[in-house]
Symmetry: C2
């Protein structure tokens, strides 16, 4: 049987000397799907890099309007092919067709593409800066090499390496991309890459603008992210895979943006428990069980102060976790990964309140699991007790008192998000003021009275955070225009003749409405 | 004899169990200076980190006005102590008192402090972003840990770890710093740290805001940059030391910004040679010999097209290099480092046109050195032929033709700067258009008709560039406000109650004139 084609240099073709091949699985039935995909070796990687380099050169003369046109056409192609995409994503991930895939994730994906198109046309994202006195001008420009995107398994559309957040940001910033499919949903990725590539063709963009590989052995992946021709890498996935790629990229001085593990601590202060523990417990379960708990912003750690209210909260949360069935997980590593994480948590003093077992269902599934641990035990080994369980699992830490809540905050690792629920009338404010400054430094996004799932594509979003949640706390992976800045280099022009300046830095405002930072003032004026 | 005191936790005190001690040298006489300085072990590093952590906590309630007041008071202290500073810097570095130290570098240093103070009061640097619809707000905030600064040997004031660009950026962004003195000028650094600390005290800032160590063994340095309490590191210095620190920081997921080697290519196109080769040769020498060639933006590589004009250019440049005496170098490693670099260049086909020998002078000195190499030889081993010689040394590459000039551009490593001299009437434009896109990707700052030395402290400056010039092409080490962004984390606030938001993100514009990005518009309005 022939293997599915890869997309290299503007051509769908067979992999050259593939190292191996693989199939995806239907997580709802645990049975392999029909198509086989190649595991590419260095030959395909080299071809992709050479084609990407040609695309980089060609992009020098491509207008923002052409890039924006591509992004919009791609969004349209996705909508035109929505049924096939939704069907395939459901087959490969078992995520529900409705509302998740068709009505939430697919529109989110096309919305992201269109927001990026708007940002590209607006041009303000590049922070064009002009110092008229010194005659020095600068902006953020493309990297001069392709962005390699490794997409995660949990958002087959919105984080897909051939259509999602990293893809959109890299392309909008003017870079070609090389997508490495998540091996959980290769066909969904192929369909998206087809929709992208068809848009590339009608837009007149270079053939190497969007390329697709399905899988590489680890050493080939390391060679790809550290290759002299590579501009940067965007990776979303497990901490172990992310750290291995990071080590390779770092050693070569190559940029890599990572989104790895995150337990997303939620502090529920005494006044909030007193006032509305039932609601908070319901919100916790609703957030924790979204996507069968396989969200990067899943609330995996809850910190309360022990006492009567916290016991009532645990009992209430237990009901939700116990009464609802566990969702289907994304693949065979789902149940084993959760079991491994629970083992570590239990070895370090956590007790299971409900759940804890793989479910005997046709698909991959694990019982919703709620655990508890004392503040003392947590502080004895905070690293082990922040082990991420990728599923509907949450660990409640019962702190002895307010002081210990603060110590727990100080012992947290970097996370994408941190929440504080507090009394609505301000009764908890002294404790809030103690915890917030500590938590603030540990998380990318700080929330009040709200669970962390549901990441808005907002200009003020930070879907990022301190290590090990990501590799750099200054960048967001989602949110437009800020997410574009990851895939840029700062380009300064000193005494460059006016007609040679990029249009965004010439005296004339190129759109008439682009925001530029001229002599320390943001303005839309001409010079 | 007792050792010079270090500054830890708001106290000038002896190092605890120092590993060793050292003295500085007077480069003009090669003789050791009197004072001895401690080489600190982990005990001092631990103390510094603990004090810095306390400073981080205290800074949460410190106003921008206090930080700005500190920066201004520090600038004033430097001016008040200018004579002692200039005298000591001259003794430790042999850089001339006039104009360099007193009239150029010292005012540049105080100007940088005052520009930063202005940026701190203005507040616009933090890119406060508000999405009113989603009620999400973000800004760049401090790192939650101190910034460790390793300063270079070549700018004892303007890049000093206790007063220079990295210091200023880190403090202005709200972080405490731990200065690691350059061991070439420990007393200058001590005097600056005294001036800084005296300003810390009168400003009411925490004692751990500015701390000073003189030297650490390599393993202690690695432990410092990778320590859990460290926020980030700013390093300026050699590639070997920088890469070793980077490896340690990367492995721990800690931020490190590096400014390492850079040959700063200068392309002189045929029309420019035809039109004004005499001027260009003069400008090359003037730029190359600044600070005895020990500038990070020193033009170390010149690319011309071979022919009669290029020979005349070489002859003209040769006169300048040969007729002028070599300046005094910063230390004993000056002449040996240049000799080592020349050995590599010559082994790979470069010929010395003039210079090439250490000078027999009372101080450390090396003859001004001009070399040439063919384009073919350069392309045979471009890495070796981009070996940086840290002194008044420039290698002229004579390309066979315009095509080969393009190939040479493509073979360049990342540099801080890249210059193109071309005919004033546009005769070289076709060749410019061929080289510029290639060079653009290789450098942080692109210049026309101008040598790269003389780095303006401008809002549009990029004193940065692709690896190995730095570790991240998206950040500048100089230029305010942009340089502050290196030492920040992106902080997003989602649904946070209005009175709990930082003032920069509340509805009310905190200064009435701060620029904020509200609903995708830059504005100074209230919400």
């Amino acid at each position: 049987m022939s293997l599915q084609p890869i997309l290299i240099a503007g051509e769908w073709r067979q992999a050259r000397n593939p190292v191996d091949s693989f199939t995806a699985f239907n997580p709802a039935t645990k049975s392999p799907l029909e198509d086989r995909y190649p595991v590419s070796g260095m030959e395909d990687v080299q071809s992709a890099l050479v084609a990407a380099q040609a695309a980089v050169a060609a992009l020098c003369t491509v207008s923002p309007g052409t890039i924006a046109g591509f992004l919009r056409k791609f969004a349209q192609n996705i909508e035109d092919r929505a049924e096939a995409l939704v069907e395939m994503a459901n087959l490969e991930t078992a995520l529900p067709v409705e509302p998740r895939l068709r009505s939430v994730e697919l529109p989110r994906t096309t919305d992201q593409l269109r927001q990026a198109a708007t940002a590209v046309c607006d041009r303000s994202w590049c922070h064009a800066t002009i110092d008229t006195k010194a005659n020095i001008r600068s902006l953020y420009g493309p990297l001069g090499g392709p962005v390699v995107v490794f997409g995660p398994n949990n958002f087959p559309f919105a984080c897909n390496s051939a259509a999602g957040g990293d893809f959109v940001a890299a392309i909008a910033a003017g870079n070609p991309i090389i997508a490495k499919a998540n091996t959980g949903h290769p066909c969904t990725t192929k369909l998206l890459a087809q929709a992208a590539f068809d848009a590339v063709r009608v837009s007149g963009l270079p053939g190497g603008m969007v390329q697709l590989l399905y899988r590489t052995p680890p050493d080939v992946g390391f060679a790809l992210v550290s290759h002299p021709l590579t501009g940067a890498t965007g990776f979303t996935g497990s901490k172990s895979a992310g750290l291995a790629l990071k080590a390779a990229a770092d050693k070569a001085g190559k940029l890599i943006y990572l989104e790895m593990s995150s337990v997303n601590p939620v502090f529920v202060l005494p006044g909030a428990l007193e006032e509305r523990l039932t609601e908070v417990a319901g919100e916790l379960y609703a957030s924790c069980s979204l996507g069968a708990g396989q969200f990067c912003t899943n609330p995996g750690l809850v910190i309360v102060q022990e006492g009567g209210q916290s016991e009532a909260f645990l009992a209430e949360a237990r009901c939700h976790f116990a009464e609802n069935p566990g969702g289907t997980l994304l693949g065979p590593q789902g149940p084993t990964g959760i079991a491994d994480a629970l083992r570590i948590l239990r070895q370090n003093g956590a007790e299971i309140i409900t759940g804890g077992e793989e479910l005997d269902t046709p698909g991959y599934a694990f019982a919703n699991t709620l655990l508890r641990v004392s503040g003392d035990a947590f502080l004895a080994d905070p690293e082990a007790l922040q082990t991420e369980a990728y599923g509907t699992v949450s660990l409640v830490v019962c702190a002895r008192d307010a002081g210990q809540m603060g110590e727990i905050a100080a012992a947290l690792e970097g996370s994408l998000t941190g929440c504080i629920y507090s009394h609505s009338e301000g009764n908890d404010d002294p404790l809030y003021d103690r915890i917030e400054p500590v938590l603030r430094e540990k998380v990318g996004r700080l929330l009040n009275d709200k669970m962390p799932t549901g990441v808005a594509i907002s200009s003020a979003m930070n879907h990022g955070g301190p290590y090990p949640a990501t590799g750099h706390p200054g960048f967001t992976g989602l949110g437009i225009p800020a997410s574009l800045l990851r895939f840029t280099a700062l380009h300064s022009y000193d005494n460059v003749r006016p007609y040679r300046l990029p249009p965004n830095l010439q005296d004339k405002n190129p759109t008439g409405s682009m925001w530029r930072f001229i002599d320390l003032e943001w303005t839309r004026r001409y010079l």
